[in-house]
């Protein structure tokens, strides 16, 4: 290989790069010309230092392994601004999702919150749990006091399908 990252001594992994491209179902990613619009508007940048253009370029050069093992790919808040604004249709969001998939395949450590969300889906059918709301007079209301219909947990057949899908991953 003709490239070495002198900071980590990592070499590009073209197979992993190809896997990412396959997952994206197209080669739009290679069209990134680093206008850095994605990072300029990234919601996660301000709090979590996610730099989508760096991820895009690293995948393009083949430095995929380090990324798939990193925490940074889990910080994307999926606001999809980068998908909307990318001038080359090379949105890093899809690359980040593909990297997450690759990380799970490789049994990398997935942040706890993501695991919690999965169990919530299993139990309740939705990713975020129900929260009580607070009025201006600081009175708390739950669904029942607001006379909202009761939400039933998913049927066992859904859970079976969901678990099977997870296993296949």
């Amino acid at each position: 290989m003709s490239l070495t990252d002198l900071m980590s001594m990592a070499k590009p992994n073209l197979e992993s790069r190809q896997k990412i491209l396959d997952k994206l179902g197209g080669r739009d990613l290679v069209n990134c010309f680093q206008c850095i619009r994605c990072t300029s508007g990234c919601t996660a940048l301000k709090l979590l230092e996610l730099k989508p253009h760096e991820i895009e370029k690293l995948v393009n050069l083949g430095f995929v392994d380090e990324l798939a093992a990193s925490d940074i790919i889990w910080t994307c808040v999926t606001c999809l601004k980068c998908v909307q604004r990318c001038p080359q249709k090379a949105s890093p969001y899809h690359a980040i999702m593909a990297l997450r998939n690759l990380a799970v395949e490789r049994e990398a450590k997935v942040p706890e919150e993501f695991m919690k969300a999965i169990s919530r889906v299993l139990e309740t059918g939705i990713a975020e749990g129900f929260q009580d709301v607070v009025s201006r007079k600081m009175e708390t209301y739950d669904r029942k006091s607001l006379q909202l219909p009761k939400v039933f947990p998913p049927k066992e057949s859904f859970q079976a399908v969901f678990l099977k899908a997870l296993e296949e991953r």
């Binding site: 290989m1 003709s2 490239l3 070495t4 990252d5 002198l6 900071m7 080669r27 290679v30 069209n31 010309f33 680093q34 253009h53 760096e54 370029k57 690293l58 393009n60 050069l61 430095f63 080359q88």
Partner: protein, 661 residues
């Protein structure tokens, strides 16, 4: 009694936004001999011009001052307008209130208004003393000299020849074709350079209106626009052009091996050879520095080519020949050179065989080149596993050339695509760049095509290139996009050397009085409005001699320059500006100072009995005034810029006024 009309232009808000035009107009009205003073939004517009014309008739005006933009912009416009109203067009004085007042003094409107008043006052003082002048007509030669036989010269020659003009095309190499003939494929369409160029070269060779003078150089030039006399040195080929059939039998028997210039010295040819496989004219040439017989000057030496040549074309008795041409216009199309990267030791060009220039890559990639079109590392002779292109070599670099070479990015993109097409998936291709500039029609799409072919772009240029014992190369690059320091290994590094001014331009500058801009290229008469002309009348610029250019731009400029030459010469006569130097023979002492100073060689010394007197060749004089300023006896003056006319302005400038001085 002189009756002067003063017209102050607002130029929208360009002038009126800073200068108080009403105050200036009022001031003009107070000046002696001013019959009328007016201001208007756009003096150059149709109603503006009509206002002046109507006033000339109605108020019997005989002198006009127009306070407006630079005379370079609209002097001609107003002269025409005034002439239509029956006044001599040279009785108009332009006062520059825009470039000289409102633009530079935008932050100090009061002082600007005072300056505007002073300039108008000076204009009025001067206009009173102007003389009526008349344009003179001279007839012109309907022949054109084209210097340089690259794609620019070829295009200009063909356009002119097709328009019915007789063209002399002078080329210093043994064949026309220039740089473009050396290229493999051309961006952004990847059509092969030879396929689109060779037919044009053949057309030039066959055209009845084109006289082709290859292996020739311009020696000297005399005369003036429409009537140039040019002498051209036709160097001996030692081969009779009328007899040689281009069979190359002589090359096969010649024992002297010499580096092949057409292949950038990467292969060898013989002392007698044909310049390239597509050469026009396809005639052999003997290299007098290498040929054994010509080197030793002995008739009995070698002579193998003479024995082999069936057409009996080899002629060692040929002598240099000087050809005299009479032409009306000249198109300069001498092109540019490629930067010599050995001036940058950090990249190892010239020391490391696997570091090559982009023009050498073209020869390697070309089917008629030294490797038969196979892309191989020069050291190992094997196809490279990784290739790196390094951009902006010798250009965008204040140590060498500050400008952008405008072709390097596209050339490297094209070459990278050619590597991918020829050597397949098993080669890593990287382009190290500053900014990738793909600005032309179809260029951005071409850049996208390169990215689609897995050509990697690394935002950063290496500081230096180092070599391994096996000849492969390695270097560090800090990549801006990823903020990583990368180490790169390459079997072949191609340097994107920029286009630089040709060394011939110094000679061109001297011969044709064609000025050069700060970047070293030839200077056009105006960067926006007269890009095809030289400041010397009758001389036109085409192609990369005026600034670095790609093929589409070169061809466009070449056709434009040809059209300009047609425009100048088609009527068979031209009008000459009367603002020239004139000599007072009684005052001239014959010191010849003016003759040595004149940049246009417009002064000749004429014998008058014992003494000689300066005489101005009116058609060559450009009215620059150098002679007038230098003349120790005040014998030469420029029409309309005599001492009385200039001093009147100075006096008007020094008059004390209520608002200041």
């Amino acid at each position: 009694m002189t009756r002067i009309g003063v017209y102050v232009c607002h130029c929208g808000l360009n002038i009126a936004g800073t200068v108080d035009v009403e105050k200036v107009t009022e001031h003009a009205k107070s000046l002696p001999d001013v019959a009328i003073a007016k201001h208007y939004t756009y003096m150059c517009s149709d109603p503006g011009q009509r206002m002046i014309q109507d006033d000339i008739k109605k108020h019997k005006l005989d002198r006009i001052v127009i306070a407006t933009c630079s005379p370079r912009m609209h002097e001609e416009t107003f002269r025409k307008a005034v002439a239509e109203a029956g006044l001599n067009p040279y009785l108009v004085e332009i006062v520059n209130l825009r470039e000289h007042v409102s633009w530079p003094h935008a932050h100090e409107p009061n002082k600007a208004t005072e300056k505007a008043k002073a300039l108008v006052r000076m204009g009025v003082a001067r206009v009173r003393l102007l003389e009526s002048l008349k344009k003179r007509k001279v007839s012109v030669e309907k022949n054109v000299l084209v210097v340089g036989g690259g794609i620019a010269g070829i295009q200009s020659s063909l356009d002119l020849a097709n328009a019915g003009f007789k063209v002399y095309l002078v080329e210093k190499a043994p064949s026309i074709g220039g740089r473009m003939a050396q290229l493999d494929k051309t961006f952004p369409t990847l059509d092969c350079s030879a396929c689109i160029l060779t037919p044009k070269m053949v057309d030039v060779g066959k055209h009845p209106n084109i006289t082709l003078l290859t292996n020739s150089e311009v020696l000297g030039i005399k005369g003036f626009v429409g009537n140039y006399e040019v002498s051209v040195l036709k160097k001996p080929r030692y081969v009779d052009e009328t007899r040689c059939v281009g069979c190359e039998l002589c090359t096969q028997v010649c024992p002297v091996k010499v580096p092949d210039r057409f292949n950038e010295n990467m292969s060898q040819t013989r002392a007698v050879s044909i310049y390239s496989s597509h050469a026009v004219p396809k005639v052999a040439i003997v290299d007098p520095q290498q040929c054994l017989r010509l080197k030793t000057r002995k008739k009995e030496v070698c002579g193998k080519c003479v024995q082999t040549c069936e057409a009996k074309a080899i002629d060692f008795e040929q002598q240099p020949e000087t050809v005299q041409l009479k032409v009306g216009g000249i198109v300069i199309a001498v092109g540019s050179e490629v930067f010599d990267a050995s001036q940058m030791p950090e990249f190892g060009y010239g020391r490391f065989p696997n570091v090559i220039s982009n023009i050498e890559f073209e020869r390697i990639s070309d089917a008629s080149g030294p490797t038969g079109g196979k892309i191989l590392s020069p050291k190992s002779g094997q196809p490279p596993k990784s290739i790196v292109f390094v951009q902006c070599v010798g250009v965008r670099d204040k140590r060498f050339h500050e400008y952008c070479c405008r072709v390097g990015c596209m050339v490297s993109l094209k070459q990278a695509i050619l590597v991918r097409e020829k050597n397949g998936e098993n080669v890593d291709i990287y382009v190290c760049y500053n900014d990738l500039r793909s600005f032309g029609k179809g260029y951005e799409e071409f850049y996208r095509r390169a990215r689609d072919l897995d050509i990697n772009f690394v935002a950063g240029i290496p500081s230096d290139i180092r070599v391994n014992p096996d000849g492969s190369l390695f270097f560090d690059v800090y990549e801006r996009g990823t903020n990583k320091l990368l180490e790169m290994h390459a079997d072949l590094v191609v340097l994107a050397n920029g286009l630089v001014p040709s060394t011939d331009l110094a000679k061109i500058n001297e011969l044709f009085h064609a000025s050069r801009s700060a970047d070293g290229f030839l200077l056009e008469a105006h960067p926006k409005l007269r890009p095809l002309e030289c400041s010397t009348a009758g001389i036109f610029l085409a192609g990369a001699c005026q600034g670095p250019k790609d093929i589409p731009d070169t061809v466009a400029q070449a056709s434009g320059a040809a059209a300009k030459a047609v425009d100048l010469l088609s009527s068979g006569e031209i009008e000459l500006e009367p603002l020239k130097a004139v000599v007072d023979k009684d005052l001239c002492s014959g010191c010849r100072l003016c003759e040595s100073l004149c940049p246009f060689v417009a002064i000749e010394m004429k014998k008058e009995g014992e003494a000689s007197r300066a005489e101005v060749v009116e058609a060559m004089c450009q009215g620059c005034g150098l002679c007038s300023a230098a003349c120790p006896t005040g014998a030469i003056k420029i029409q309309q810029y005599g001492s009385n006319q200039v001093l009147a302005q100075v006096q008007a400038a020094c008059v004390e006024t209520a608002g200041g001085s």
